[in-house]
């Protein structure tokens, strides 16, 4: 009896492994293709069909890392992403605390209104943003893109942080007030360290959503703050598309996410679901 049960169990694990193996293969194959292509020469890409680079080269990466018009794209993206992260966290922390601790006039409507901004199609905002930031002289600056991305990142930050803050018992606040802490001191010295992991997760998602966005960042910049995503369209030259460099640029945009992915693996679902899992 026990033997047959074990056998069945063993078979099921195998079935699971096959399903997962196939699914992961489906996910990784296109990424693998991008990676091998970034390590091939253009001659190899266009003239022979090879499953892995025969003529291994790092020239494509060298091109990007030494050509200013390429690597400034990365620096520009980094700049507005970090500015956006700082602004979003700074305004969202107190707001999330208020939503998690107090009821006040119109709180539910306000919370919903914030959500609608996360759901607003960026295409609707592209033109008005362009005109708004042009008229205040912020067009083609990092701060313009950072502010524009606040449209969906601030609501996201408020929602995720509120989810984490709800988990901190209210007794801690009350004890701190009885001990004579003022609100700002309590918030910075006691409360913020308690939700540190939540802040880390939120920062990751702010980074990610600002990093992956193209439409707004492309519309709001031309030269000085051009993001890497927009630079990538430049590979179409007189001699056709420079596939190797395009692939290398793509691989480099995946790196920031891939570096920290292990640390946030258990929070990915939470971040995408606005803290509601």
């Amino acid at each position: 009896m026990s033997v047959s049960v074990q056998k069945r169990g063993g078979f099921r694990i195998k079935g699971n492994a096959i399903v997962m193996g196939l699914y992961l293969l489906f996910l990784l194959l296109p990424i693998y293709w991008l990676l091998t292509m970034s390590l091939k020469t253009n001659t190899e890409i266009l003239n022979t069909f090879t499953l892995w680079p025969r003529d291994l080269t790092f020239d494509n990466y060298l091109t990007i890392l030494t050509d200013a018009s390429w690597y400034t794209g990365y620096l520009n993206s980094m700049a507005y992403v970090v500015i956006n992260m700082v602004i979003s966290l700074a305004v969202a922390l107190p707001a999330a605390y208020a939503f998690s601790r107090y009821t006040f006039l119109g709180d539910k409507h306000l919370f919903f209104w914030l959500l609608t901004n996360r759901m607003a199609p960026p295409a609707v905002f592209a033109l008005p943003f362009f005109q708004l930031y042009s008229s205040v002289g912020l067009f083609d600056t990092h701060i313009a893109v950072a502010l524009a991305h606040c449209l969906f990142n601030v609501p996201l930050a408020v929602w995720i942080l509120e989810g984490f803050m709800r988990g901190v018992p209210k007794e801690i606040d009350e004890t701190a007030y009885i001990d004579g802490y003022s609100f700002p001191r309590f918030f910075i010295r006691i409360f913020t360290p308690l939700v540190a992991s939540g802040i880390g997760v939120t920062a990751f998602f702010l980074f990610m959503f600002s990093w992956v966005e193209l439409l707004l960042s492309r519309t709001l910049t031309s030269v000085d703050a051009k993001p890497i995503a927009a630079t990538m369209t430049r590979t179409v030259g007189a001699a056709g598309i420079d596939w190797g460099v395009l692939a290398a640029a793509g691989v480099l945009t995946i790196v920031p996410g891939a570096l920290v992915i292990y640390f946030v693996r258990n929070y990915i679902a939470k971040g995408f679901a606005l803290g509601r899992v």
Binding site: A95, C150, G257
Partner: protein
């Protein structure tokens, strides 16, 4: 948690309010402004009433884009939701392999959207892409820049590749919260695998599935970058979805009035859906006793 009534909490909300007002309300008002005015240039505007709205309602172009958009969202939901649940059921529960799967599955979610487009643009090319080359070698006529079906299939497979993991991760989070005792009880009852899924697992993950469905619906309804990079909306107009059409109209042709009217209708649809989303989520929160 029982919350205290405190009107001073408004001061904590104020920074968010000011920021979002600047980045959402002012632009939105600009759109409303354009939608009811017409111009012959030179920044001279005159009142046009609801003419633009009427024009957009009669516009075949908008209805076609809307039709394509709905078809696209329906197809990807019909594939991603069942596939995501299926994958979640097959994921290892704990240990090294669970982390391994989580990390690899999250990878597509974190790739910039235009790079997702680039990946599939390269992958599907007949001359240099693994997928295109293989299909071509098998004798299948596949060319996503010229063939209607090939373009649609590429865009759909790309979206499935990009977002199925999100559904799977949400469903997985829901499955993790089921106590082992439930499965033991089912084992004693000698319940079939299907019965376990139907009566234990499915009811427990309904909440997260609702979130998954609504998130995927909404994000697919706003999709722009990925199909834009791969097909550019073509061949012809066959993969021109709402956002692509809107950007073409507003930033390409600079037809401010119609584009603004289009934007407002588009936004109202999203707003309506967001409201459903919010109601469903708050009800679920209440049921779970938060």
């Amino acid at each position: 948690m029982n919350k205290t009534v405190n009107q001073k909490a408004w001061f904590l909300i104020l920074p968010v309010l000011v920021l979002v007002a600047f980045s959402a309300v002012i632009p939105l008002m600009t759109v409303v402004n354009y939608s009811v005015q017409d111009t012959f240039g030179n920044n001279q505007f005159f009142w046009a009433g609801i003419d633009w709205f009427r024009e957009m309602m009669d516009s075949e172009r908008m209805w076609d884009a809307l039709g394509r958009q709905i078809a696209f969202s329906a197809i990807i939901l019909a594939i991603e939701i069942p596939l995501g649940i299926f994958v979640a059921l097959n994921m290892p529960k704990r240990g090294f392999w669970a982390s391994f799967c989580l990390v690899l599955m999250s990878l597509p979610l974190l790739i910039p959207w235009n790079v997702v487009g680039t990946i599939w643009q390269i992958f599907g090319r007949v001359d240099i892409g693994l997928l295109g080359y293989t299909l071509d070698a098998m004798g299948i006529d596949y060319n996503y820049t010229q063939n209607f079906y090939a373009a649609w299939i590429t865009v759909i497979v790309m979206d499935v590749w990009h977002w199925t993991s999100l559904v799977a991760l949400l469903a997985y989070a829901g499955l993790q919260s089921i106590p082992d005792a439930y499965y033991q009880a089912a084992k004693i009852d000698q319940a079939s695998r299907w019965a376990v899924f139907r009566f234990i697992e499915l009811p427990k993950i309904t909440g997260v599935l609702m979130i998954a469905i609504l998130l995927r619906f909404m994000d697919s309804f706003m999709i722009y970058t990925e199909p834009f990079v791969v097909t550019g909306g073509g061949p012809g107009n066959s993969t021109t979805f709402l956002s692509i059409d809107l950007v073409k109209m507003a930033l390409g042709q600079f037809d401010l009035g119609p584009a603004a009217a289009f934007s407002i209708m588009y936004y109202l649809v999203i707003l309506l859906i967001s409201y459903v989303f919010y109601t469903v989520m708050t009800n679920l929160d209440k049921r779970d006793g938060h």
